[in-house]
């Protein structure tokens, strides 16, 4: 396997890991995106500013890379309102109910060697794989 084409993925992953370490080391917080965003949707006192700063910086970092660096071309994205609305509703509902997403349970929870996060990560990976299988190989619509 030619690893060089995966260098951006490996470097990007390292940056995400370093980001999670900095936030924990300096501010004692978990870099879990669903937790941070849900905490802004239902705001708690004294927890609004740091979350806003993190999210705005994240959007800034993504925009900065996208517009100023060469990046691998995107797959042509067709407008899929039904999948976006259904998917978004399920992701919003599920991450709040399950207490985390790919970053909170995945990157940070696994980093803490948390059994809860390991089980959560295996569960969402499994249902995501099953969902893609059903909608791509049985119904042929994604």
């Amino acid at each position: 396997m030619n690893l060089t084409i995966y260098m951006p993925a490996i470097t990007g992953g390292l940056l995400i890991g370093i980001s999670a370490c900095l936030l924990l080391l300096f501010n004692g917080r978990i870099a879990g995106l669903s937790g941070i965003i849900n905490g802004l949707i239902s705001p708690e006192k004294n927890e609004i500013l740091w979350r806003t700063v993190f999210i705005v910086s994240l959007l800034g970092g993504a925009t900065f890379h996208y517009y100023f660096f060469n990046h691998t071309p995107f797959t042509t994205d067709t407008f899929s309102p039904v999948f976006m609305i259904t998917g978004g509703l399920l992701v919003g509902f599920g991450t709040r109910m399950g207490g985390g997403c790919t970053s909170g349970h995945g990157v940070c929870g696994l980093g803490r060697l948390s059994l809860r996060s390991l089980i959560a990560t295996m569960t969402f990976m499994l249902t995501a794989i099953i969902t893609v299988f059903i909608f791509r190989h049985i119904f042929n619509i994604i």
């Binding site: 995966y6 993925a9 470097t11 990007g12 992953g13 390292l14 940056l15 995400i16 890991g17 370490c21 936030l23 924990l24 300096f26 501010n27 004692g28 669903s34 849900n38 949707i41 700063v53 993190f54 999210i55 994240l58 970092g61 993504a62 900065f64 996208y66 660096f69 994205d77 899929s80 999948f83 976006m84 259904t86 998917g87 978004g88 509703l89 399920l90 992701v91 919003g92 509902f93 599920g94 399950g98 997403c101 790919t102 349970h105 995945g106 990157v107 696994l110 980093g111 803490r112 809860r116 089980i119 990560t121 969402f124 499994l126 249902t127 995501a128 794989i129 969902t131 893609v132 791509r136």
Partner: protein, 144 residues
């Protein structure tokens, strides 16, 4: 102000990393989840290298009494495996497979002007509010 410097730096690195690793391209995520089709391992490399860093360094960080700029760590303490964890994660996975976005990439892809990402985010906010409403209702019913 210095309290927010590292929060901002952390956010910047996270967003930069997401874009660099092509995680804002939702089709790559769906192709990663498509293990019986034309499998794309990109997400595996992203996840593996990110977790490698956290597994190595979190243990040293969490050995401290407190973070550098605050008086205590705000880290989840629960250890029980309950129905909410399993059902919630299962629901999240289904939505992730359908949309190809998890929360971070879905939000970040809005800045690229993706209408799909904007719709996803609006639906995400609605789903999160519904979940909060549902859990409050459930708690209310369980009270004597």
């Amino acid at each position: 102000m210095k309290n927010y410097f590292f929060i901002s730096l952390s956010g910047l690195l996270f967003g930069f990393g997401l874009s660099l690793s092509a995680m804002l391209d939702r089709h790559r995520i769906i192709n990663f989840l498509d293990i019986t089709g034309n499998w794309d391992p990109t997400l595996l490399f992203v996840m593996f290298s990110a977790v490698l860093v956290t597994v190595v360094f979190f243990r040293f960080i969490l050995r401290r009494h407190a973070p550098i700029l605050d008086n205590r760590f705000r880290v989840p303490t629960r250890k029980d495996i309950d129905a909410s964890l399993l059902v919630g994660s299962a629901i999240f996975g289904a939505g992730w497979g359908l949309a190809g976005y998890c929360p971070g990439p879905g939000f970040a892809a809005m800045t690229l002007g993706s209408i799909n990402a904007i719709l996803f985010t609006l639906a995400y906010i609605t789903g999160s509010l519904l979940s909060s409403y549902y859990s409050r209702k459930l708690q209310g019913e369980n009270k004597p």
